[in-house]
């Protein structure tokens, strides 16, 4: 199982690298970040054993951390995204 995750991660890296040279317009960033997120999930779920952890607490820690990171990014954007000047 570890080896298939590993293979998937390498594949993801390869795809990201190759796709970056295609012109997808604004989708370049979306694809790159999607693949990165999938890879991060794979590492967290399988290598860091979040999947199969015997209690929900660890998941709660991860989710709430990401929530606060999300707050930091999104609420900053509430300012930067709505400025009428640069």
């Amino acid at each position: 199982m570890y080896f298939s995750v590993w293979a998937a991660l390498l594949l993801g890296t390869f795809i990201t690298y190759k796709v970056a040279y295609l012109d997808l317009g604004r989708f370049n960033a979306a694809v790159a970040l999607t693949i990165a997120t999938i890879k991060a999930l794979l590492v967290a779920l399988f290598f860091m054993h979040i999947k199969g952890a015997h209690e929900k607490l660890l998941k709660l820690v991860v989710v709430s951390t990401l929530f606060f990171l999300f707050i930091l990014l999104v609420l900053s954007m509430a300012d930067y995204g709505t400025r009428t000047w640069s």
Partner: protein
């Protein structure tokens, strides 16, 4: 301290030499250590989070300039480094597994390979830094990024000051990541020493587990750094 407790502790110590006095049982100690590591990683997420926030805001403001600056970094080296780290994550998982089933040789071998891969990563990183230094892309007095076209706009040059912000963030983010790698190598050297002395058993291998968590986290940070820093706007 009452006698009964002291006796109780001595009783425990005979079975679990690694059990610290203030824990009731090994399971509690393991769970505490693992939760502690996860919370430490939460701290790390927010630590890098501040940088990612700065990065995203400037990338949005100065997209073209960031694209031009990003294009000047060697993406092949970056991709190679990503692969190196992913391989090292695999060997870390193998080390944890080996510790669980008491395969001492596999444990030691995995730890050594992990450390070697970590050093390869740092070596490649050093090569990148050296290139940037020679190209005068290190922010500071000798920084220069004149007449570099913006990707997709061949007649338009990137604003060097905005590119300098990119490189400042590039060096701070990858630098802090590299610092985490170096700390990780130190940690793994200690784990290797412990493993060499045969301190880990299927019952007691928490240090390997939480060291592994740390290493995987550093890997995940890089998984995001790679596309964000190297692959902003690559297409010809």
């Amino acid at each position: 301290m009452s006698d009964s407790t002291v006796v109780g502790l001595h009783h425990e110590e005979q079975h679990h030499p690694e059990l610290l006095h203030h824990f009731a049982e090994p399971q509690q100690q393991r769970d505490a250590a693992s939760l502690g590591m996860w919370i430490f990683l939460a701290t790390e997420v927010m630590f890098f989070g501040g940088l990612f926030c700065a990065y995203l805001i400037y990338r949005r403001l100065y997209f073209g300039d960031f694209g031009a600056a990003s294009k000047s970094i060697d993406a092949t080296l970056g991709a190679t480094n990503t692969a190196v780290l992913i391989c090292s994550s695999l060997t870390v998982v193998l080390a944890v597994w080996a510790a669980q089933i008491a395969l001492r040789k596999l444990l030691i071998g995995s730890l050594i390979v992990t450390m070697l891969l970590g050093m390869v990563f740092l070596g490649i990183k050093g090569k990148e830094y050296k290139d940037k230094f020679e190209e005068h892309h290190v922010p500071g007095a000798s920084f220069s990024f004149d007449h570099v076209p913006i990707p997709g706009h061949p007649d338009q040059y990137a604003n060097p000051r905005h590119a300098e912000i990119f490189f400042a963030l590039y060096f701070i983010m990858t630098g802090l990541h590299a610092l985490h790698m170096i700390i990780g190598l130190g940690l793994f050297a200690w784990l290797l020493y412990m493993a060499w002395k045969g301190r880990f058993t299927p019952e007691y291998h928490t240090p390997i587990e939480i060291g592994g968590l740390y290493w995987h986290f550093v890997d995940i940070v890089w998984i995001y750094l790679f596309p964000l820093l190297y692959l902003i706007d690559r297409h010809p």
